[in-house]
């Protein structure tokens, strides 16, 4: 907002006393054209807000959204096994609390936000069959879990490495909890065909970014390598994947891959979608990491050599740690777009958050007329998540000070 192209008055007069009237005059009615723009914008705003509000409150029929919120959250996951999803979510919530206790800063806002959301959800003044006492107790319990995490995080001598490892364990534990084991009574197997909703969306996005990271780092190193064969393979991989749409990669894994694997092998459908997301994401991670590698000054490498480090040590102890630190904001940005891109798995028939919306629409003839409501709700949820994440990523950027370099 610093650079503005229109001319300012050059006549030297004592400045007006600051105040709301001056602000309005400067920013809204500075000149004739400005006034016209203000009036046009005001009318636009007025129509947007009034028509949206009257539609949302009066004409819209939110039955397809409110009838079964659980479907949107976890899909067809067996309702008697819901505790597993709840436990996985609480583990993540606990880790947010722990990180708050350890690092404070932005994680404090996130944790407090989580507590507010869970607290409000627990006390939501509606009567709904899916919103029974145990659900409310669970939601309210998460507030306490954040607190518990906070006090764990405050323990002196808790290493950063331990917390990072614990964070990495959360998605692994979550997948184990979700899928369970064949023949285990208290953790029976739940087929991925019944997984759905936000659970799958987050699984694909988080799994995609985490699993693509090591692959992306290898590819980035390969692309920077002086060895022609290694470099060639990396470049071909990265550029091919960046050159084709995600949907072609999804189809490749969902249809074509089966032809290239041994006949008897049958990969799970969700796993194939995850593989496609990982492969897709790896090319973009590689380009981000390459940017980070380039930002490490040559002198660092020379100094490491001078100390007698070999290539592997120079890379692993000197270059990569600095490079990865520099690319964290870019990776967060990539996570946000991956979170949005995972919606494409709908096209290969996976019930992610959007897919559940589609199947709810098709579940009842009456709902077909209510598509607008469902898609608006879905858009709103995606919007809230990615908007909050983009605010968080800006904060990360500020904390790491990457912007000032």
């Amino acid at each position: 907002m610093e650079t503005k192209l229109d001319s300012q008055s050059t006549v030297l007069l004592p400045p007006d006393p600051p105040g709301p009237m001056k602000w309005i005059r400067d920013n809204l009615f500075g000149s004739v054209s400005n006034t016209i723009l203000t009036i046009i914008s005001l009318t636009l705003f007025y129509f947007m807000i009034t028509s949206a509000a009257s539609w949302v409150l009066f004409s819209a029929d939110w039955r397809p959204v409110t009838e079964s919120p659980l479907l949107y959250a976890i899909g067809q996951y067996p309702r008697d096994q819901m505790w597993r999803v709840g436990l996985a979510l609480s583990l993540a919530v606990l880790m947010f609390g722990v990180s708050w206790g350890k690092w404070n800063g932005m994680l404090r806002s996130i944790s407090i936000g989580l507590m507010v959301v869970f607290g409000a959800a627990a006390l939501l003044p509606v009567s709904h069959p899916q919103f029974d006492l145990s659900m409310r107790l669970y939601l309210g319990g998460n507030v306490l879990i954040v607190f518990a995490g906070f006090f764990i995080g405050r323990i002196k001598g808790l290493k950063t490495l331990v917390i990072t490892m614990a964070w990495l364990m959360v998605p692994i534990l979550a997948v184990i909890l979700f899928s369970g084991f064949e023949g285990l009574d208290w953790l029976e197997r739940v087929a991925t065909t019944s997984w759905g909703g936000l659970m799958v969306t987050f699984l694909l996005a988080v799994g995609g970014i985490l699993l693509s990271f090591p692959l992306g780092v290898l590819l980035a190193l390969g692309r920077r390598s002086k060895l022609p064969v290694v470099k060639g393979f990396s470049v071909i991989w990265i550029e091919t994947i960046r050159g084709v749409p995600l949907i072609t990669i999804l189809f490749m894994f969902s249809i074509i891959l089966a032809l290239f694997l041994p006949q008897e092998s049958r990969l799970d459908r969700l796993l194939r979608a995850l593989m496609a997301v990982v492969v897709f994401s790896s090319a973009y991670t590689a380009e981000n990491v390459r940017g980070g590698l380039q930002s490490v000054p040559e002198g660092q490498i020379e100094a490491a050599k001078a100390l007698g480090m070999n290539s592997f040590r120079t890379m692993g102890l000197i270059v990569l740690p600095q490079a990865i630190r520099a690319v964290i904001p870019a990776i967060v940005g990539q996570f946000i777009s991956l979170f949005k891109d995972t919606t494409l798995v709908v096209i290969i028939g996976i019930n992610d958050f959007l897919g559940i919306g589609k199947s709810i629409i098709n579940s009842q003839p009456a709902f077909v007329q209510l598509q607008t409501e469902v898609y608006i709700f879905i858009a709103a949820v995606y919007w809230i998540f990615s908007y909050l994440m983009s605010i968080a990523s800006r904060r990360v950027e500020e904390t790491l000070g990457v912007g000032d370099r």
Binding site: T38, V230, F260, L261, T372, Y382, W383
Partner: protein, 393 residues
């Protein structure tokens, strides 16, 4: 990474970087080649078991499936080659129009965002934040299912000035149609356009080289107007007629029809990408040093001149590279056409996979076309980018 030059005989072979390098290359090649061979063997088995083929012979067979809204003439008894061409042209059509629209809309939103009018700037911010934070597929569903599918039936079409009729069957609008004598007008119009552009660049270059006034802007406009007017008179003053759609029976006749699928994809794609382009343009303009603008004003340039001669040329250098990737994104994202039933290259390919049972060759073809498209676009735009960057650094 560099080979160590000292003491060649004192290090054991497993720490000699030259040997490690060769070893790494051999191992990685063997791994990749091994993987490819393994996949090929598996495919051979699958192909033998299911009777799949790897040849492209089927391309000349009749495709046998209809394509709605083809860019060129097409019928199901035409060949697969023709079907893929139609698909590719449908992709190019929506991507081309989408890129132009998104650029114009994005630039306008960026200018609104930078406006000193607080309210207008907020309005632009709402637009940008809305489009940047929802998935494109959800936006397309909103446009297609929640808006274009909810339009009234043909009999109760919404009439907009133009006239443009909005119906569930599509958007009908008035469209100029060449008359029989209009051919000469079209030719002269195009010739005038080419000559005007040519004159513009030639005369501007002469002005830059010699410093003499060549009135390049005025001359090129005059050339264009003269040729257009000549065409107008040669075609007897009626080069084209406005073809207005009219309701006859259960449908509109005449005019131009945009199918709801095309309209949904085109509008969703352009508006989505415009949100990203707006941020690119805004960042580019804001990156121009404020001192440059003040200096330009100090030497007496007008507001318009400051923008066109000082701000834009410098901002473009920053804008073009991220803009290229937005254009590429838009082209790739047009493959989401499949989800709302517009038949682009990818959806034609998908039908062909099911129909012909030749999944692998069809799929490979589609991938290669997209890849070529991406590489070609980035090649052309990078060429342009290199031209406008600072030289001799």
């Amino acid at each position: 990474m560099e080979n160590s030059k000292q003491s060649p005989h004192s290090i054991p072979f497993y720490r000699d970087e030259r040997i490690i390098n060769i070893f790494t290359q051999v191992v990685s090649s063997l791994l990749v080649i091994g993987l490819v061979i393994w996949l090929a063997i598996n495919f051979k088995e699958a192909a033998d078991a299911r009777g799949l083929a790897l040849s492209y012979d089927f391309l000349s067979n009749p495709a046998g499936f209809p394509i709605s809204d083809p860019a060129i003439e097409y019928s199901p008894d035409m060949s697969f080659t023709r079907a893929f061409t139609v698909g590719l042209l449908n992709t190019l059509r929506v991507a081309g129009i989408g890129i132009v629209t998104a650029t114009i809309l994005g630039t306008l939103v960026a200018l609104a965002r930078l406006s000193s009018n607080w309210l207008l700037s907020r309005l632009a911010l709402v637009y940008i934040e809305f489009h940047r934070n929802i998935p494109l597929l959800v936006l397309l569903f909103l446009w297609y299912f929640a808006i274009f599918q909810k339009l009234p039936v043909v009999g109760e079409a919404i009439r907009l000035p133009g006239p443009v009729f909005l119906t569930r069957r599509g958007i009908y609008m008035a469209w100029p149609r060449l008359t029989e004598s209009g051919g000469i007008f079209r030719i002269l119009f195009l010739v005038g356009l080419v000559l005007a552009v040519f004159a513009f660049y030639f005369l501007r270059r002469r002005r830059e080289l010699t410093g003499k006034s060549t009135y390049y802007f005025l001359v090129s406009i005059l050339v264009f107007v003269a040729f257009t007017a000549a065409g107008w008179f040669l075609s007897g003053g009626r080069p084209f007629v406005l073809d207005v759609p009219e309701l006859s029976g259960f449908n509109f006749q005449g005019g131009k029809r945009l199918t709801p699928e095309f309209a949904g994809l085109f509008i969703g794609l352009s508006m989505y990408t415009a949100g990203f382009i707006a941020e690119v343009v805004r960042a580019g303009i804001q990156a121009v040093d404020r001192g440059q603008i003040e200096a330009a004003r100090a030497v007496g340039l007008s507001q318009f001149q400051v923008l066109t001669l000082v701000v834009m040329p410098q901002a473009l250098r920053i804008i073009v590279p991220p803009m290229i990737s937005q254009y590429l994104n838009l082209t790739k994202n047009s493959s989401l056409a499949l989800a709302i039933g517009y038949q682009d290259l990818f959806s034609v390919g998908k039908i062909a996979i099911n129909q012909a049972g030749r999944a692998v060759p069809v799929f490979f073809l589609v991938m290669v076309v997209y890849l070529t498209l991406s590489l070609l676009t980035s090649f052309i735009l990078n060429f342009y980018n290199n031209r406008i960057q600072f030289k001799a650094r």
